[in-house]
Structures are given as structure tokens and as C-alpha cells.
């Protein structure tokens, strides 16, 4: 899996309310429409400025708050290549993997807005092309890699008829 795109920077504690706000609750039944508002309450221009394959790059505790799976869903539907953060909140992390959205834990202080990044999952690094610097990725747990490779949890169950993770 190789990914390349531009970095869009966000701070610490980006909540699911920033990503998929409660005031847009009625759009949850229309995810492509909701995706047009992705991360709107953190950066109102993000959805219109990003291109397919670009990256969300944040600080600590990305995705805290509600269990709404719509948050990772609309990040994925918007075409974001991966979310890079120093750390992720638990439910968001689980949801993202379950639906096949790639999350990368690394030192995001070394990435600035607009930097061109290339992610190499296999070798375990982020190449900051703009800064000519390689950042190490915290390796994903095996179960996460398996779920991601199979296209998420529903696909995993459809393939194996049951859990085949342990």
C-alpha cells in the first residue's frame, strides 16, 4: 500500500463533534452529503480544499468523544488517504479500522501544513518529501493490518464466516 498526498494540519483533541457535528445529525442517513462537511468545525475550508489522497495530520487524542462511526466513514468517503496523529482516541481507532480507514501514529510535529507526504506501510515510515525527512510509524497491531487488508470488519466476517483474528 503506497500513498502520497498533501498534509492538512489540525491540533490536539479533534473530537467527533469537529469531524461530524451533531447539528448535521440529519445527514447521517446520507453519508456522501455529510462528507462534504467533514472536519468542518475544525477547519471550515478543509473539505473544499483537499484532494483525493491528501492526509489529515493532527496532534494528540484525535477522534475523542462520541462513538459515531460516521466520523471515520466521512473521512474515508471524502477521499482522505490516511489520518496521521500522535495518538488516537480508543473508539475512533477501532471504528476506523473496522471500516478500513488507515490510521498512522507518528511524530506529527515534524509535519507542516502543505508538506507533501508519502506513506510506506510495508517499510513502516512516512517520507516527508517537502522536508526530505523520514518519520518512523508506530507499527499497527497485526489484527488491524488483517482487518484493513480484508477491507474492514464486515468483509472479514463475510470471508471467514466468523472471527479469524486470534
Amino acid at each position: 500500500m503506497e500513498l502520497r498526498g498533501k498534509a492538512f494540519k489540525f491540533g490536539d483533541d479533534i473530537s467527533t463533534d469537529h469531524i461530524a457535528p451533531g447539528r448535521l445529525f440529519h445527514l447521517r442517513s446520507n453519508l456522501p452529503e455529510l462528507a462534504k462537511h467533514v472536519l468542518e468545525d475544525a477547519d471550515s475550508e478543509f473539505a473544499s480544499k483537499m484532494s483525493k489522497g491528501d492526509f489529515v495530520v493532527a496532534g494528540n487524542n484525535f477522534g475523542l468523544g462520541s462513538s459515531r462511526e460516521h466520523a471515520p466513514q466521512i473521512i474515508k468517503i471524502a477521499g482522505v488517504g490516511a489520518v496521521l496523529a500522535k495518538s488516537f482516541a480508543r473508539i475512533f481507532y477501532r471504528n476506523a479500522i473496522n471500516i478500513g480507514l488507515l490510521l498512522i501514529e507518528c511524530d506529527t510535529d515534524k509535519i507542516d501544513a502543505g508538506d507533501e507526504l508519502e506513506i510506506n506501510i510495508k517499510e513502516g515510515y512516512v517520507n516527508n518529501i517537502t522536508k526530505n525527512e523520514k518519520l518512523t510509524i508506530t507499527p499497527l497491531p497485526e489484527v488491524m493490518i488483517k482487518l484493513l487488508n480484508e477491507g474492514g470488519l464486515i468483509e472479514h466476517i463475510k470471508i471467514h464466516g466468523d472471527f479469524d483474528l486470534v
Partner: protein, 417 residues
């Protein structure tokens, strides 16, 4: 080696002795969704092509987040849940029956069980000695079909509570204080286990408030051992036969031990826009409030309403401030009616809102205007939480909320107690 409460419950459900960080496939006793997460779970469940739910009697669908519905899209989402319940025999909790977490503790969840909910505050049931945690809609869809899921066994923090609350200080102040202390990600992936001599004096309502907010420190669960109070609570709700002693071993291993003396806690407020941005009432200064909201899964129980009514009795809500009160469930509403609390609230100038999540989720029933300040007994104050990114949300106990409604600014309730 001894086990924590989380390790014991997960061991019993995985059919082997588990250790922290281990990945297990675990049986799940009950699952829930609400109207915000349920339709997506239904959608994902249908992709699995299963004709039946694994356990329909313990698949519970709540219509509480946008109830009654403020718009047609949400009305249609509600109908998705109604039709699913009918077709598959799942349990449905209708408009006005109450907030999912309150209804789960009143009616459905028992000590030693595992509850997975597509709602982050599912951890509320941890106060009953159940391993209860929030997950997403896809996770729930799979449990609906198979009755099991994968779980990573969390390591635990032992929170040792000693001493007693001083006048005007409540469980809400304690949990806000703890989150301020360890941070909004201070317990990410961990189970919090509350213990110590102060716990046995705490009401179940106090314990629910504390467990409810475990997730605000990032925790996977907020657990209490069961005791006479748990038994009495279950008995009051017709489930005493479900009582079970749940307790950690004395030689259980904890990743961290945090000791808190309740005597040292002051009325505590979370300031915008994160829950861990806490101040004591002494530090807060005079902050004018436009709206006060008393209710939610955190603090909408009868005990909370009694505290608020005691302060509001014979008083009027300050002009320029509005007070919204939502009993957490129909049972709480009825009890409050019988006790005369609702009359006290209405006399004071409060508006009573349908039992449900109401203003807390920013969908309807109390959305803030630009620049407005809300003091609320809910569990979250993220930017935009109450439907407007230009609003400012402060969190407090019901006592501080009720007194502040009278004063028109965030006020120290100890003045009148």
C-alpha cells in the same frame, strides 16, 4: 496472580484466564444502539445476510437522541429502527422513554455482564459491576449477528477514594476533578476501577455519574465492585435475582494507582472546549449564563432532580437566563412528578423537556445562539457540541447548575447550603 474486575469479567466471557493487552474473542450479553448510530448498524447488519439476530431480547434500540424528531430525515431514521425491531424482534425504546444509558441501568444490565453499545457513554453501566463499553455501529452489527466480538483486554487504573464529600460537593465534581487531573486522554484504552472506603457511602446515582464519564478520560470502562447498594438498586428495579458479587482480587495488578481524598474536592467546573479544562468554583470568576441545562445520562436521575429542586424551591430563574430540565427517563419523570419536583421546577420558571438526550447532542431542544454560554450537567463541552461552534459550554453538578440559574451567572452553591 489476582485479577482486576475487567480481567475477571472478560475471562468469564472468553472462557480462559486473560491478561492485559491480550486479544480475545468474547461472548457479549447485550448490545444497544441509539437513533444516531442505529440506522448505520442496521445497514451493516444487513450486509451480513443473517436471517436472525443472535439474541433479539437483548438487542436494544433506543430512540432518544433526536426525540421527538425535529426533522423529516430523522423521522425516517427512527422508522428504520422501528421496522428493524418489528422484523427481527429486537427491543425498541420509544420517544419519551428516556436516555439509553438510564434505561439500560433501570431495566436491562446486570452485574458481571458485558454490554457493548454504539454510544460512547455505554460505560455508565460499569457502576453495576458490568463491563460496558462504547463501540461503533459496525461492531454492533457483527455482535447482533454472532453474539461475540474481539476485545483487547485493558490494563486497569485503580482509583482509590477516601474521605467524604464536603457540603456542596458531589460525584460530578469528583469525576470532573479526576479528568482535570489525568487529562482527556489520561486513561485511553484503560479500565478505571473505583474503590476505597468512600465508595461504600456513595449512592448508585453517584456511581453512575462517575462511570458515565470514564470515557471522558479516554477509558474503555469505569467499574465499581458490587455491594449492598447494588443489590438494593437491582431490587428496586425488580432484578435482585440478577445480583452477583463482582470484586477484584486483593492481589490484582494495576498499571497505576491514583488516590483521591474527597475532603479535598471543591465544586468543579469544566470550561470550554474540553472536559479536562477544569477549574474550581473559587477560580472561575463571574461568568454570565444564558442557558442552564439539567438532565442527561450523567445527571438526570431522581437524586439529581431532588438536589436541583431543593435549591430552586421558592426561587425564580434569573431574567435573561433560561433553565431547561430533562428527567433522564420516564420513570425518573414520574417519580419527580409524584414528589412534586416538577411543580417546583415549573414554578421557578424552568422549561421541562422530553426525557431523552435533548440539548446535549446539539440536534434540537436547546441549541445555543452565537456567543451564548450554557452551564450544563452533561458530560461533554466540545466546540459545537450543543449545535453551535460559537457557543460556550461549561459542565457542573446539578447543584451548581440550579443555583446558577437563579443567580444568572456561574455561582458557588455552598453559599446557600
Amino acid at each position: 496472580m489476582g485479577q482486576t474486575i475487567a480481567e475477571k469479567i472478560l475471562s468469564a466471557h472468553a472462557g480462559k484466564n486473560v491478561v492485559p493487552s491480550e486479544l480475545v474473542i468474547s461472548k457479549i450479553d447485550a448490545v444497544m444502539v441509539q437513533d444516531g448510530t442505529g440506522p448505520l448498524a442496521v445497514n451493516e447488519f444487513k450486509k451480513l445476510n443473517k436471517q436472525k439476530l443472535f439474541n433479539p431480547q437483548r438487542t436494544i434500540l433506543f430512540i432518544d437522541h433526536a426525540a421527538p424528531s425535529p426533522r423529516k430525515e430523522l423521522s425516517n431514521s427512527h422508522n428504520v429502527l422501528r421496522e428493524f425491531a418489528k422484523e427481527y424482534g429486537a427491543v425498541l425504546s420509544e420517544v419519551g422513554e428516556g436516555v439509553c444509558h438510564q434505561r439500560l441501568i433501570e431495566n436491562y444490565i446486570n452485574p458481571g455482564e458485558i454490554l457493548l453499545g454504539a454510544d460512547s457513554h455505554t460505560c455508565t453501566s460499569g457502576a453495576l459491576g458490568a463491563f460496558a463499553t462504547g463501540v461503533g455501529s459496525t461492531d454492533i452489527a457483527v455482535v447482533m449477528a454472532l453474539g461475540k466480538t474481539w476485545l483487547k483486554v485493558p490494563s486497569s487504573f485503580k482509583i482509590v477514594l477516601e474521605g467524604e464529600f464536603q457540603k456542596g460537593v458531589y460525584a460530578k465534581d469528583l469525576i470532573l476533578h479526576l479528568i482535570g487531573l489525568i487529562g482527556a486522554d489520561g486513561a485511553t484504552y484503560k479500565a478505571l476501577e473505583f474503590t476505597g472506603s468512600a465508595v461504600k457511602n456513595m449512592s448508585m446515582s453517584d456511581r453512575f455519574t462517575i462511570s458515565n464519564m470514564a470515557v471522558e478520560a479516554g477509558a474503555k470502562a469505569g467499574l465499581f465492585e458490587t455491594d449492598e447498594k447494588t443489590y438494593e438498586y437491582l431490587k428496586e428495579h425488580g432484578r435482585e435475582d440478577k445480583y452477583k458479587k463482582i470484586k477484584a482480587d486483593s492481589d490484582a495488578v494495576y498499571e497505576k494507582v491514583i488516590e483521591i481524598n474527597l475532603n479535598d474536592i471543591k465544586p468543579t467546573i469544566s470550561c470550554p472546549h474540553t472536559v479536562d479544562n477544569t477549574k474550581t468554583i473559587d477560580e472561575i470568576g463571574k461568568i454570565k449564563v444564558n442557558q442552564v441545562y439539567i438532565g442527561t445520562c450523567t445527571n438526570g436521575r431522581i437524586e439529581d432532580l431532588r438536589i436541583a429542586a431543593n435549591i430552586l424551591k421558592g426561587q425564580k430563574v434569573k431574567e435573561g437566563t433560561r433553565l431547561l430540565i430533562a428527567p433522564a427517563s420516564r420513570k425518573v419523570f414520574l417519580d419527580a412528578l409524584k414528589e412534586g419536583l416538577i411543580e417546583t421546577f415549573v414554578q421557578s420558571g424552568a422549561a421541562i423537556v422530553t426525557s431523552g438526550c435533548g440539548a446535549c447532542v446539539g440536534v434540537h431542544a436547546g441549541i445555543l445562539g452565537d456567543g451564548e454560554v450554557c452551564l450544563t450537567t452533561q458530560n461533554r463541552n466540545f466546540k459545537g457540541r450543543m449545535g453551535n461552534t460559537e457557543g460556550f459550554i461549561y459542565l457542573s453538578s446539578p447543584a451548581v447548575a440550579a443555583y446558577s440559574a437563579i443567580k444568572g451567572y456561574i455561582a458557588d452553591v455552598r453559599e446557600v447550603l
